[in-house]
Symmetry: C2
Subunit: 215 residues, 2 copies
């Protein structure tokens, strides 16, 4: 990786970090990874050093083009707007709106309710709590995707919506949600996992993946 | 309002509905409102009729240009990309990324944790829970805004970040968070509340505002 390449501060199993890794892979952008272990030492995201990069003390944070960005969808759209390669949002405004609607349903409507910091506060009920909010989100997402999907979430081109979907399905499986109840979500996830950008960015293949979880 | 105008299905006090009202007002777009009372009859967003508009059973949902969109930031960016008037996202990619980062910090990092459906599940602790997550978000937002803000959240032009900030401060006040602890947030909120688009869209001035809360 060359000097001046973007640096991703992330965690192998963080779904929001995985989103950014997929975007870099789809665009063919080389980048460095500096792992932030969310569990070790009580959570390396809580250090003062990391807080200066992302005051929310969450991953990812991305150093790119002389600035530091957090919030994965902001990062992905910045990559899309500044790098060549396949579009991550379609050109048509209505299709763009559908991509953003699906992305935000996941990024605002599901993921925040099952992220590590929140379920640490929930305590003993955290498995049920997470399942509840993932199921609730997927029940809404399934009929929307039935209308918008072709080969992928919106039509036949890969977009930011797909980038959000696959890591959320991975989380659902971790929390033992029966994804088979959502046939469109299941089909799209399987199709996307065939694609190299989703494979190389997978949590099982990162520099900080523990040996027992490595593919 | 003319035939073919957008229809906003919203609720006077919903911060996500308010975001969309501000965007319409800034752009000078006329629209109809069809109120969805989140409290009455156990919550009108839970009807089958409304579920067909927004399967997440949340407000807002917007009927526009022959399609129905939900997720406020997707709606706002669609309005921005299809209507004349002042830009709601700046032209420069880095500034756009900052606007989206701030918007997402609020829309994914704060609001989902204090929305009605979630705090109904939290029960008796809901005031403390909401205060905790709003304070946590504002502690992160304050240093970010210190770096990005001019007259408004990002530089001197009003953007989607401002559209997200003001309704979140309104929520913070409802949950008795001391906004005075965050001088940049406080200053920006006060400056923005001087602007007509933020005033006409305010929860105290909507068709469904109860008389005792009306300005």
């Amino acid at each position: 990786v060359q000097a001046g390449s973007p640096i991703l501060h992330g965690y192998f199993r963080s779904s929001c970090s995985w989103r950014v890794r997929i975007a870099f892979a789809l665009k063919g952008v080389e980048y460095d990874q500096l792992p932030v272990n969310l569990i070790k030492d009580g959570g390396q995201q809580l250090t003062e050093e990391y807080k200066a990069l992302n005051p929310m003390q969450q991953v990812p944070a991305v150093e790119i083009d002389g600035t530091t960005l957090s919030q994965s969808l902001a990062v992905i759209q910045y990559i899309d707007e500044t790098r060549p390669g396949p579009r991550l949002l379609p050109a048509d405004p209505k299709a763009r709106a559908q991509v953003r609607m699906i992305s935000d349903l996941i990024a605002s409507g599901i993921q925040p309710l099952q992220n590590l910091y929140v379920i640490q506060k929930i305590g003993a009920e955290k498995m049920q709590w997470s399942q509840h909010f993932i199921d609730r989100g997927f029940q809404a997402l399934e009929p929307i995707l039935k209308q918008t999907a072709g080969k992928y979430c919106v039509g036949d081109e890969i977009s930011m919506a797909d980038i959000c979907l696959v890591p959320q399905v991975y989380n659902a499986e971790r929390f033992k949600v029966d994804v088979g109840k959502y046939p469109t979500i299941k089909r799209l996830n399987e199709a996307l996992l065939e694609i190299e950008a989703f494979q190389v960015s997978h949590p099982s293949r990162q520099p900080d993946t523990p040996d027992d979880l490595r593919a």
